[in-house]
């Protein structure tokens, strides 16, 4: 009886091990294949350079993200991803308080994206911005 149990266990371990050796790599490959693809970071035009004065700003779409593009008083450009770093809601500019306000949990950010209050711990993400042939270009990431 004990021999039979041992034989059965050995057979179970042998075939179970072999099946795992075949199925596990296949399952891993399929899981990775089905996960969202690594797409090329989007780059979007944000209008002519001369059309954005010092202190001016605009909201544009970069890929599927909403982005805030602004020019400082010293003439430098910067761009922020408007997704709140707390829970991902889109923040809105509140002109009266001169700050970004998140409608979901009252997170507050300055015009430069720094945290002013509420649950967020991190500033708004910076996006790459450059002027190419007189056009402002905003990019999600580097290559």
């Amino acid at each position: 009886m004990a021999d039979r149990t041992n034989g059965s266990r050995r057979r179970f371990l042998l075939w179970g091990g072999m099946a795992t050796a075949i199925v596990a790599p296949a399952a891993y490959v399929i899981e990775r294949y089905l996960s969202p693809p690594k797409t090329l970071g989007a780059v979007s035009p944000a209008g002519r350079d001369e059309a954005l004065p010092a202190g001016g700003s605009k909201i544009v779409k970069v890929g599927l993200k909403d982005a805030f593009v602004a020019r400082r008083e010293d003439g430098t450009l910067y761009a922020l991803d408007l997704a709140c770093t707390h829970a991902g809601c889109t923040v809105a500019w509140n002109a009266a308080r001169n700050e970004f306000l998140c409608p979901c949990h009252d997170g507050r950010f300055s015009r430069d994206g720094a945290v002013l209050g509420g649950p967020p711990k991190l500033p708004l993400h910076r996006l790459d911005v450059e002027v190419r042939n007189g056009v402002i270009m905003v990019a999600e990431d580097h290559v």
Binding site: T39, L40, V43, A139
Partner: protein, 499 residues
């Protein structure tokens, strides 16, 4: 249905089914244990039918995965936020990891300003592909972008899945051709297996149709040229039905966007369903009429001698395949899975090794059924499906899939040169040069090249008709010699045309 012709027969329950400990899966295992299948383990040819079926499963699984990302659209591709795209080639000397020199990639651009909407490092590394006559940029289709870019560049393991599908098709045809010729030369088409042969021939046609439609789907120069040539030959070479058939396939007067939709529908839905249906019928007929090779397995001392001879044949096949796999790359300078002289030995080798292994592991392979007189069934010997049969065939399948996965990982499927360029239906198609289809589609292709259109179509039709009618020409073995000679001639012709 009589007992002799029942598709699945039941025998006495195996010992383990009566174990005292109740198990939830016990009834299922007991049923599987009672399921008997014909045994054909003493001949290597037996394996190729099952190996073809297994590869069909691989094709369905990988095809399903590919369809998740494939976009059957000939319209110009756009980004997920709707920006139009241009085709660009990575310049020589570029050292970006994700973009090897020569790769053609879709690049989003700003239609207002004409700027390429990619980061500066990538923008500096690419040149936009332009039409050679008008100089206009090429806009890749959604289909090309989904295959050559999304699956091949953006999706993890995408190249592996695509290569498994592409090289799997080659291995399936290798196994299928061996299966077909072994049946033809051994007389397996005769009574009572005539219907089995007919369904096998139907399967061959359906699989060829599936391979052709699959080659069009990437919507590159090679695929679109294949669609144009095939529908053109049908239109001008097939009397009466040719025009209607070409028009049905194209969805109009020329190969365009509707053609891709139709081809996709055929490749992904209609043909797989037909293949599954005819395969089920083929298997039922195998069960009803048995296997040709079983006859020798219970033929007493004569059968034993034949069994030993076939063991030696398997050993010779394994050695020959291994030798070919060593010699061909050495002579040609490349290991090209797209060559029949690589793919055929790649299909034979695991099967031959599995056959040898299975025969050597004698304990798990001895038949546990009596001779024909004892079973009283259409085939002389049978073994349980669950357990013995699965274990034995799993060796061949696992080895075969291991070989396939290795070549898929080592040699990703890439269509090189102009043949792989994207098609922009608003621009003239670039010349594809001398584009040849995959080796398994070359028999009709070369016949069409060598003979005038109508004559070539007549030759193909006659060849197919002759193959379909083999069981009628030689129903009982009286014309065996003539059929065997014709079969060998066809084998030689096929080998010459596929080269």
């Amino acid at each position: 249905m009589s007992e002799e012709h029942a598709p699945y027969r039941t025998g006495s329950a195996p010992e383990h089914a009566t174990a005292a400990t109740p198990r939830p899966l016990a009834p299922v295992l007991a049923w599987l244990g009672r399921l008997r299948v014909p045994q054909g383990e003493r001949t290597i040819w037996y394996y190729f039918g099952w190996f073809t079926l297994f590869l069909l499963g691989v094709m369905i699984a990988t095809g399903t995965l590919l369809s998740i990302y494939y976009e059957p659209s000939a319209a110009p591709a756009t980004t997920i936020d709707g920006k139009p795209m241009l085709a660009a080639r990575v310049r020589a000397g570029t050292t970006l990891d994700r973009y090897p020199p020569g790769t053609i990639i879709p690049i989003p651009y700003d239609p207002a300003g004409g700027e390429l909407l990619v980061p500066p490092t990538l923008r500096a590394a690419v040149e936009v592909l332009r039409d050679s006559t008008t100089g206009e940029p090429i806009r890749p289709s959604g289909a090309w972008t989904s295959v050559e870019w999304r699956i091949m560049r953006e999706v993890e393991f995408g190249p592996l899945i695509r290569s498994l599908h592409a090289w799997g098709a080659g291995m399936l045809f290798a196994s299928l051709f061996i299966h077909l010729f072994s049946a033809l030369l051994s007389g397996a088409y005769r009574r009572p297996r005539r219907a089995t042969w007919t369904t096998g021939m139907l399967l061959l046609l359906l699989v060829v149709g599936s391979a052709f439609t699959g080659s069009v789907l990437p919507w590159h120069v090679l695929g679109v040229s294949a669609a144009r040539v095939a529908t053109g030959y049908a239109e001008h070479g097939l009397p009466l039905l040719g025009g209607a058939l070409a028009s049905l396939l194209r969805g109009g007067t020329a190969v365009a966007a509707p053609t891709l939709t139709r081809i996709f529908s055929l490749h992904a839905i209609l043909l797989p369903l037909l293949i599954l249906g005819v395969t089920a019928l083929h298997l039922l007929l195998v069960h009803a009429a048995g296997l040709r090779h079983d006859r020798d397995a219970v033929d007493g001392a004569r059968g034993t001698r034949r069994g030993a001879r076939r063991m030696r044949s398997a050993l010779a096949l394994a050695s020959g395949s291994a030798l070919l796999l060593a010699i061909v790359p050495a002579v040609t300078g490349t290991f090209d899975p797209g060559s029949p002289y690589i793919m055929l030995p790649l299909a034979i080798l695991p099967v031959a090794v599995a056959h040898l292994l299975a025969t050597l592991i004698a304990g798990s392979l001895r038949t546990d059924a009596g001779p024909a007189a004892a079973t009283g069934h259409a085939w002389p010997e049978e073994i349980p499906f669950h357990g013995r049969w699965i274990r034995r065939d799993m060796i061949a399948w696992t080895l075969g899939f291991g070989v396939l996965a290795t070549i898929a990982a080592a040699a990703p499927r890439i269509v090189e040169g102009t043949a792989g360029f994207p098609i922009d239906l608003t621009r003239p198609t670039p010349p594809a040069g001398h584009v040849r289809p995959e080796w398994y589609l070359r028999i009709p292709y070369e016949l069409l090249n060598m003979l005038p259109g109508s004559l070539a179509m007549a030759a193909i039709a006659l060849l197919l008709l002759a193959l379909f009618l083999v069981p009628v020409i030689d129903p009982d073995g009286r014309r065996a010699r003539a059929v065997r000679v014709a079969g060998l001639l066809l084998l030689a012709l096929s080998a010459a045309l596929m080269r």
